[in-house]
Symmetry: C2
Subunit: 211 residues, 2 copies
């Protein structure tokens, strides 16, 4: 089996949000799709290890904010590479309550769902949500997962359904230990200014290690 075939499947990039007893929580997901059109339902796949998983299970609702191509990549670092159990991901992220759920502003659309069914797998829960609210927030182009990898040069969290271990690079590379971003600029990493930050998760230069 050649698992590179999985890289051909196309996805968007979403902030999935929910409530943890009144506290806004969320994570990044790319596995989301509409299941039926009437009534409208949407399914998402969330790893058991994601704190947002148990929050969705407990509160029975989730929202999907659709990231745009020019959404701040730091959103992916914040929502994709930290845990809502220990970090307040919404502390510095502008958001509004839409359909009774927290929805970030920097998105091109959102969908709010009430969980109507679940399907368990060894590592992920598929939540089937009946859409209770949805709207377009801007006319920006949605970010595809391919765009995230090719243009933003981002990586997949280990909890993602689409995570594939990276091949070892032939040459040593500087890698962000928080989000996995591999520095690929023309300036040698050592010569970057001290205030350089990871373009994905905004961590300082000191968060990078040579691999």
């Amino acid at each position: 089996m050649n698992t590179n075939a999985f890289r051909s499947l196309s996805y968007g990039v979403y902030v999935v949000s929910s409530w943890d007893h009144g506290r806004a929580v969320g994570c990044i997901a790319n596995s989301a799709m509409q299941i039926t059109s009437s009534p409208a339902t949407v399914a998402i796949s969330i790893n058991h290890d994601n704190y947002t998983n148990r929050c969705i299970a407990d509160c029975g609702r989730f929202a999907l904010a659709v990231l745009a191509e020019d959404s701040d990549p730091a959103l992916i670092g914040n929502f994709g590479f930290c845990s809502s159990q220990t970090v307040d991901k919404f502390a510095d992220t502008p958001y509004s309550i839409r359909g009774n759920l927290p929805v970030i502003h920097d998105a091109c659309a959102y969908v709010v769902c009430e969980v109507v069914d679940t399907m368990e797998t060894e590592t992920h829960t598929v939540f089937l949500g009946k859409v209770t609210d949805a709207d377009v927030l801007s006319s920006r182009d949605p970010m595809t997962y391919a765009y995230y990898h090719k243009v933003v040069k981002g990586k997949s969290p280990k909890n993602a359904p689409t995570y594939l271990p990276e091949e070892e690079p032939a040459q040593p590379k500087w890698v962000c230990t928080v989000c996995g971003y591999v520095y690929d600029g023309e300036t040698p990493f050592e010569e970057l200014p001290d205030d350089y930050v990871c373009p994905i998760c905004k961590q300082p230069k000191s968060a990078f290690v040579k691999k």
Copy 2:
């Protein structure tokens, strides 16, 4: 609720295939996503009214061929706008048996699955498949659903999870009755040559009606 929000969700375009007692059958799907990475599983959403749905349920297996941006658009007309119950969709479509399932050649990758779980909705079945075989067929870019709509200018079959009724056009337009393609060329439709065929499903000029 603004259902236009659903247009922001990103998908690929796939030929889902299976066996009908030894006969190759298939349909077009855009709702497909990886659910887990280890073991690798993939979920697809197929309308109850699609003949392929009952074939997958009966034989317990399905394949996903990932269409490329430059895959023949006629594949979408053939697999997306006809029924395998009455049409042999593989009759004029080159394919091979991969992992014991029929996989079309004109694709950039394929994934073969054994159904391990299902989730029923009012109109669609979500099949969860454990991947038993997968490979890359070419380095072409996968076709996204957005590319299909924007560049190929194709429409959604009424059975698609993402189907939205089209708004009535302000001006009369010529529409292909087989696949829903709306003619948008510069030459007035009436002045097109008699051998004009629909660029999506290859139906003759006579298959178009003015709406």
